[in-house]
Amino acid sequence: MAWLARVYVTPKQGVLDPQGKAVQRALHSLGYPEVDDVRLGKYVEVRLADGSRESVETRVREMCERLLANRVIEDFRFDLDAVATE
């Protein structure tokens, strides 16, 4: 048994997101005026070796805090799924 962490990193509320704004404008020009806001973030898949859910969760949270996200400008969340070892 192994683990797959799906990490989502997004710009914090209030932090400028010029890329999101550009995508929003592009969607408007494509005929989707209902788009109120777009925030552009990152999606990271991390595969991890065996371990208890609790310890893996702690380790992934630490990875997010130390490297995957910059807490000054970004928020993160992640899902953790048990996957069969390949």
């Binding site: 400028l16 010029p18 890329q19 550009a22 990152k42 910059n70 000054v72 400008i73």
Partner: protein, 247 residues
């Protein structure tokens, strides 16, 4: 004085910085590789511009964990002078040696142009040879130069006179048009509270001879040299305790 210039994989202004210090200013320079774990005896260490580790994930995010960064952190903690230029500034923010972060330019375009910056603080170890209000003409070349920080941090930076350089027009007026990348407070360069760590987005090393269009960048290096690597401020109060610091 003795300088160190760090090369990370992807640094590209390291050679120019060494050239300016050695050939134009006659200084002694040690080239440092990011895998080194010690700096050796130095008065000032420079983190140059470039695209360390391809700027993958975030600019400076991975360089911040290079082996040499622990030595840089210790050097900074003991009061040594640290200058981060462009990518170096981004690395210092990622490392927490300077507050805030640098994100994608508001206009989304990579900027390669000349800007004017106004010297907000002249009594620093990095701008000693300037007068408050001086306008420097310096090049920028960055995609992620928009300085951001939360409101409390911005207030603390202003109150602590840590904003050293601000984007302005040629006459020193800070206007929306003179801010090339959307930086909050038009911030182009900041120092830490102690005054010995300084990060700036413009490139002083690319403005040190008329051949390349200007010499204003020399003022930054000459300021550092004027203090001989000491972060003691002009009033004589030690903002650094390089000599006094304990083990």
């Amino acid at each position: 004085m003795r300088w160190g210039v760090i090369t990370f994989p992807g640094s590209n202004d390291d050679a120019q910085t060494v050239y300016v210090l050695e050939r134009l200013l006659g200084e002694s320079v040690v080239r440092l590789w990011h895998k080194q774990t010690a700096l050796g005896p130095l008065d000032c260490v420079v983190l140059p511009g470039g695209f360390s580790y391809g700027d993958y994930l975030r600019c400076g995010a991975m360089a911040r964990f290079s082996p040499i960064m622990r030595a840089v952190e210790e050097f900074a903690a003991s009061g040594g002078l640290v200058l981060g230029i462009c990518n170096g500034f981004q690395i210092l923010c990622e490392a927490g040696l300077l507050p805030g972060a640098l994100i994608r330019n508001r206009g989304l375009s990579f900027l390669c142009t000349r800007v004017h910056v106004r010297v907000e603080e002249a009594e620093t170890a990095f701008t000693d040879r300037c007068q408050r209000g001086d306008v420097l003409d310096l090049p920028v070349k960055h995609g992620e130069g928009c300085y951001v920080a939360d409101e409390a941090t911005l207030r603390a930076l202003e109150a602590g006179r840590q904003v050293v350089l601000r984007y302005a027009d040629a006459d020193g007026r800070v206007t929306p048009e003179s801010n090339p990348n959307g930086s909050l407070g038009a911030i182009a360069g900041i120092r830490n509270a102690r005054g010995n760590v300084f990060g700036m987005m413009p490139h002083p090393e690319h403005a040190c001879e008329w051949l390349v269009g200007g010499e204003d960048g020399r003022k930054i290096f000459l300021s550092i040299m004027a203090r001989g690597g000491s972060a003691v401020d002009a009033a004589g109060a030690p903002s650094s305790s390089k000599v006094l610091s304990g083990p």
